[in-house]
Symmetry: C2
Subunit: 585 residues, 2 copies
């Protein structure tokens, strides 16, 4: 009998495996995993113009942002363009969400920046490679659900801290101060305070003008759409291109001053490495100063961040895809596979770690992109920029970029959420605050880890203290104490349940106790055992009944103690039971 | 207004603090924290004889067990007696549970053994001191509830592994093998296999005879009570004293052989350090071989175990107190304070870590102990043993102790539970198995940590996937889709809820959707926000209503989006709502 059963189980397993393999190798799966196979044959000519317009708009932001984020990471400016180039191309093939745009982002750049400052650019490229592997494997293993354990208060605390830290690191460039920009919030603030006397007027004027222009241009676009009349359409386009506009204006001013007056009143980005990135194997060993680092030593240097960066990257991508996918329906697995591959391939082309970019995705969306082909235009413009425009980029003032970054950070903070969290009960607000403070003052990676762990622990605490209601019911046929188990019970609630039953029995004055398990759907061994043993203990002195335990739960209970079958009763309400109960025990 | 409120809050806080302080300094609290103040004045002369009888019975087991557990820990035998001496005395003053007996236990001894084998006895004493501090602080901070996160399957897997490991470590002494006894299960088994040829006949005969005698003596006591007639009373007493009896018989045989035939056919315990332990400050620095260890280095050597041993100690004490306290009502805080102080004071008298002992507590209970004064008799007998009997202990055969320990371990395993766990669903069984295997093959401390973490993660997974029921209800007035939220929702379930609502809307064919929140009691910001944003997204295409959300939950939801107030409806059943609903949207 057992052998036969085992045989049947084996056969079923074989069949399942075969079905699973068949399912993995269909055209459908191929289309799902390499989406370009799906959308390219269906491509229509009318999509072309829309994709091109969207691509141009995105590129006008991708170039200044890419340079700015390379600056945040402490990398040479061209790295920011490299990062959008290869990754953008790979996403065209593997991306499942047509408006998502990948590239360097502020948070990931600032987390990478620490290694670049302390070691070298090679560490940023290796981080991209390792993050890619991590994200790809998480995607293959379908582990995207893990990011569900990062709640909105934790995300909010983390992004606020990141925004503040990034903004603080730009204070040096904003005012043209001496000293370092710092990889930590406190470092940057300290540098600002100690070097405030070295502030330069023209830097401050240019960066403040950049901020004001950006805010005005953003406002100018309000209520305008791509499909409006010419004036509104122009306003819409200027508003969307505001990042490029302020940088170009800064460049032109710097160029004119240089050519006409032969002076450089503000600091410029300077020479940008021209041409395409060097393609080759990512740096699995490197030399910093006099010291050679092999692969193992490089990974040791990266430490805990090498796991946090990919998680942040997954989080950003999935959040963005969800926000812009039609009806919020996304294939998280495919998004992770795509972003993983973008990082892996990117690292072969000197890319820093990349992920989905909120700003550029939103731009892509409002520009009316139709297919991932829009990304191709973006990549082509980046290609032109890298090969022909780097000499023009020489004139980008650092203060313009600082103004650009600080404005972006100002808009990244979700101010409304603070109020809502405050009103929604202290727990979520405190969680946000703790995550933010640890992120700011200890480190971004520690902040988010602390937030996740604290919230999981507080969740476990709630689970360990499920609602149990005790009521004394007065009926004509006699009183009963009713202990209602309102929620599922887990092992960590076993002791709580035990105490509650003991307390109820202590105040029951010998009237019958009914334990109402109508809402119970799941209990584990520990709870069942505890429940049965306490009922057995109290059986001699109290009259206890277990009401409306489902057949399955009853079976579990009787597995522990077969002598208590008579305790299980079924009724629409405790009142019904009083009819059959003795008045006193 | 706000200032006034703040003032009121401050006053309330002050009042609370004062009340709290007053509460802390009453005679009641003193009685609770130093229970001897409570029970000693009420002591009656008729308690005396019962306490003395119980004390003698417990001592007859405490002495052979103490020596055996010192042997398990690799310590000189007298350390096992030292451990029961000071700790026993301290428990008389601070213990809240009159039948709990503290002293060395098998599991804690085997966990301590590793340090003794690799370093020296000083590490065992320092472990006692640190564990004491840890337990005491946990008690003061009321953190006893943390042990509720160790479920029965995990405890079962852990104790089974400990029992197997301890039994395996005794195989060497059982058969008189060469080699080492090993601090790990595999080491012990390997030693057994490689040295099986060196087994000695007389050792094996004596240890097997010990096991058989113990089992027979245990059976002899079945159904006999202290209050029975003389014959049954004698059977009862012999059965309870079986540990002492088998050791004494072994001693007598060894003594006779030595005196008459001048041979030692079996290995003996040998010289036992006579007299009381040296009282003094615990070893905060020590010398092992040529190396001096300072306090920090010693703590580094102890590592993760120095946190696991006290947790195990707390677990054993609370579990035992619960099992033997009247009606299971215990003061876990006081028990932790007491066991903490026992370890701290004990470490000033060369004690290894101690905790509540299940065997001896059960013995104490069935011997009819009335007050913690019973422990005093036990301590006096240990005192006599240490000062006068150590020369007799010379003749204790190691094989007798091995038989004693292996028998105790055989009875420590809860065989019934395996079957019950198996029948209760695979999850609990697998958890037990994983805990057991990691405990056996990696280390006891890693096993229990892995068990706790795995179970907490699986619990979080369940919490992230709460039951959501989707039903299509057909009423005369029109059909509705009802999505019932059966359980509380936490942030990690937000995505699950979102998907479920999306799926429901996809299959709803434009009939109204009712989200039934009757059972909801608690949601957090993440869930609320997700729910509100999806309802807003679907508002244009679907008719969605939120039924029976409590006033509080509704307030939280409207905090996020005030425009959705009309979505909240209240009704006894979805049917009522259909009356007012449009047929199609």
């Amino acid at each position: 009998m057992t052998v036969l059963n085992q045989d049947a189980v084996n056969k079923a397993t074989l069949r399942k495996t075969r079905q699973c393999l068949q399912k993995t190798c269909t055209v459908e799966t191929l289309k799902k995993r390499i989406p370009i196979i799906d959308w390219l044959p269906k491509y229509k000519t009318e999509y072309f113009i829309q994709d091109v317009i969207a691509g141009i708009t995105v590129a006008l932001t991708a170039i200044p942002q890419g340079i700015a984020y390379a600056v945040i990471a402490g990398l040479p400016p061209e790295y920011g363009l490299y990062a959008s180039l290869t990754a953008g191309l790979v996403y065209v093939f593997f991306g499942s969400c047509h408006n998502v745009t990948v590239g360097p982002t502020a948070i990931v750049a600032t987390m990478t920046g620490k290694y670049v400052a302390d070691y070298s650019a090679d560490f940023a490229v290796l981080t991209a490679f390792l993050s890619g592997i991590f994200i790809f494997v998480m995607g293959i293993l379908n582990l995207g659900f893990l990011v569900e354990f990062i709640s909105m208060p934790v995300i909010s605390g983390f992004t606020t801290a990141a925004a503040l830290q990034i903004a603080a690191s730009q204070l040096k460039a904003y005012f043209g101060l001496n000293g370092t920009s710092g990889s930590y919030f406190l470092e940057s603030i300290q540098n600002f305070v100690t070097h405030i006397n070295s502030a330069k007027l023209w830097e401050a004027v240019l960066s403040s003008a950049t901020v004001i222009m950006l805010v005005l241009l953003k406002k100018m676009g309000h209520g305008c759409k791509r499909t409006d009349g010419f004036v509104k359409q122009m306003r819409w386009f200027l508003s969307l291109s505001r990042n490029a506009i302020v940088v170009i204006i800064g460049m032109i001013i710097a160029y004119i001053l240089k050519v006409t007056l032969h002076t450089e009143p503000v600091l410029l980005i300077g020479d940008i490495g021209s041409g395409l990135p060097k393609f080759g194997v990512p740096p699995f060993s490197t030399v910093v100063g006099n010291q050679t680092y092999n692969f193992r030593e490089m990974v040791e240097v990266l430490g805990v961040q090498s796991a946090v960066i990919p998680v942040i990257a997954i989080l950003e991508t999935i959040a963005i895809a969800k926000a812009f996918a039609v009806g919020g329906r996304i294939d998280a697995t495919q998004e992770m596979i795509a972003v993983g591959l973008c990082n892996i391939f990117g690292s072969f082309g000197q890319s820093m770690p990349i992920t989905g970019s909120f700003t550029r995705t939103a731009l892509n969306h409002v520009s009316g992109v139709k297919t991932p082909a829009g990304g191709l235009t973006n990549v082509l413009i980046l290609f032109v920029a890298l090969t022909s425009l780097t000499s023009a980029f020489y004139y980008i003032p650092k203060a313009s970029l600082a103004g650009l970054i600080i404005t972006a950070m100002f808009f990244m903070i979700d101010y409304e959420m603070f109020g809502r969290l405050w009103r929604n009960g202290m727990k979520d607000f405190v969680l946000m605050l703790v995550t933010m403070l640890i992120s700011l003052f200890v480190g971004l990676e520690y902040g988010i880890i602390a937030g996740i762990v604290l919230e999981a622990l507080s969740l476990l605490y709630y689970v360990a203290r499920p609602s149990l209601e005790v009521n004394r019911m007065q009926y004509e046929k006699g009183d009963v104490m009713v202990l209602t188990l309102c929620e599922n019970m887990s092992y960590c609630a076993a002791e709580h349940l035990r105490k509650k039953i003991m307390d109820t029995s202590a105040i029951s004055n010998n009237i019958p106790i009914i334990i109402d398990g109508t809402s119970l759907r799941r209990v584990d061994y520990t709870v069942t055992y505890n429940l049965m043993s306490i009922i057995k203990d109290l059986d001699e002195t109290h009259h206890i009944l277990l009401m409306n335990f489902s057949v399955e739960l009853k079976k579990l209970c009787l597995n522990i103690d077969l002598g208590l079958e008579s305790k299980f009763v079924y009724a629409a309400s405790p009142k019904e039971l009083t009819e059959a109960l003795p008045k006193e025990v």
